[in-house]
Subunit: 347 residues, 2 copies
Amino acid sequence: MAAPEGQWVLMATGRSPTNIAVIKYWGKRDEALILPVNDSISVTLDPGHLSATTTVAVSPSFPSDRMWLNGKEISLSGGRFQSCLREIRKRACEFEDEKKGIKIKKEDWEKLHVHIASYNNFPTAAGLASSAAGFACLVFTLGKLMNVKEDYGELSSIARQGSGSACRSLYGGFVKWCMGKKDDGSDSLAVQLADETHWNDLVIIIAVVSSKQKETSSTSGMRDTVETSPLLQYRAQTVVPSRVLKMEEAIKNQDFESFAKLTCADSNQFHAVCLDTSPPIFYMNDTSHRIISLVEKWNQSEGTPQVAYTFDAGPNAVLIARNRKTAAVLLQKLLYYFPPQDKDLSR
Amino acid sequence: MAAPEGQWVLMATGRSPTNIAVIKYWGKRDEALILPVNDSISVTLDPGHLSATTTVAVSPSFPSDRMWLNGKEISLSGGRFQSCLREIRKRACEFEDEKKGIKIKKEDWEKLHVHIASYNNFPTAAGLASSAAGFACLVFTLGKLMNVKEDYGELSSIARQGSGSACRSLYGGFVKWCMGKKDDGSDSLAVQLADETHWNDLVIIIAVVSSKQKETSSTSGMRDTVETSPLLQYRAQTVVPSRVLKMEEAIKNQDFESFAKLTCADSNQFHAVCLDTSPPIFYMNDTSHRIISLVEKWNQSEGTPQVAYTFDAGPNAVLIARNRKTAAVLLQKLLYYFPPQDKDLSR
């Protein structure tokens, strides 16, 4: 039965995993378009674990665009949401569902309002890339709803305008965000280096040191770093380009030793430029430092890396074990040195 | 009455304060001669507070060189002690005390052995520059005993071979260690920028966060940084030279705003290159970070810096207040936010 005129609701649901950078993105050359100062490389997590699930609905009965995050309404007035909505609407295509009596012409999408409900199955804004998963999912699901035909590369460039690292969550596996050269940002997008079946041995363990929201948001933190750190441009222009090439090689060859050394060094250098910012930004705490020491000592005693660590804009450790056996030993060590009653690990 | 042949003991005592770098020394270009990768600038503390007191004695009855640090005998076999002893002996001059019947000819000094007793009135190897005060005092006191005629600049170059930053403790006030250019290190010495009467308003408060000995010694830490940090050379060659010029200006003009900004930024950049080292070096802890946040927020709320902070190779904060009134407020704040029962401040 066809829906009464103006009463229908059309919905789409999508899920996007978060991604963890192994060569870090820190610093924009264009704030509005979200264009980075260097390339970055990430691993996309299994969507069954840390991910955002978003349902978008459209209906002639909706008087305005609205959004709920984890059940709480949030404002869509920010430039980042508006950019994503505008860019997806621009690319919307005709849609018809004869059974339901729904027909939306290309030009209709501009007038139809959306309701968006998004859930993260992990702490928000605690340095676990919740905005990456969130914006990737928003763009992907809106694209699905609005019958957008563009490929993931193009969608990644739209997601980038919501949250830079979101562009890397459009693909699974290993993903590179090419900084691009153009002023309009059209070449600043994600490419898949290897899909999720490549290097299946790796196991990622996230040690949640604190699920509190961070004091310094990534956006304002990286702006301060760009403006005040004398070391950032050297990192972006001289250190990162060669690291990106080495990391691509390491991933291609499943060379865990190089992968781990580059991952740890780049995490530490990202936190170094945060410290070189005025006023300094601290994302890691004493517990983070203890986790690093544990891993470094272990790797040293084995003669070759067993585990890589990387920390985003928060104290939580992302630990990448070379295989399942190592991951099991890592978990034992974590439980031994950071017993669950420890306040630092309580949530 | 003349001493019986071979029974006399000749002694000298000296005291040297520690110094606190405001433009940091981190990294050697020559490990044996202790030649740094950049100039550094420090403030010498009042000798009444953090200082080393050393008594050196010489006697024909001493069969070997020996040394006691804080009452415990330590080995003098290290290259650093040997360099200082050799360089001072080389410059020793004839000494005569007719009353005591002592006559030491220039060439006799090579054969006479010394006993050295040194005390620090503050924690050793806790990142409070104990070795700077210690070696400055050793060289100064040995020079006094052995009637060395060289000026402080030359003595500073000898003290440098004991511990790099020791060269800066030969002078009071504001001191610059010029890295020098020569391979033999003869131009790598300290010069006084302003004496201890200049800029008398400043008050230095040291917040001892931990008096434990540090895990990573400065010597091995800076070697690792030189070998593994991609950012260090850029800091040494590009960032520090311009900071040194600005810091000299700030000191000359008693411009506290510039002084404080440069001091804090350079402390943070030193810890940034430590973090950029593989494996990373952490000297500051959560308490250090809280102290920095307290100072940064206060400075921001006042619109202009009231206090500068700087951290050496340990978690202890060196706080420089612009005047006595500010220092009093700073102490109140420290006592309020870090009450004495707090375990972090216990010794």
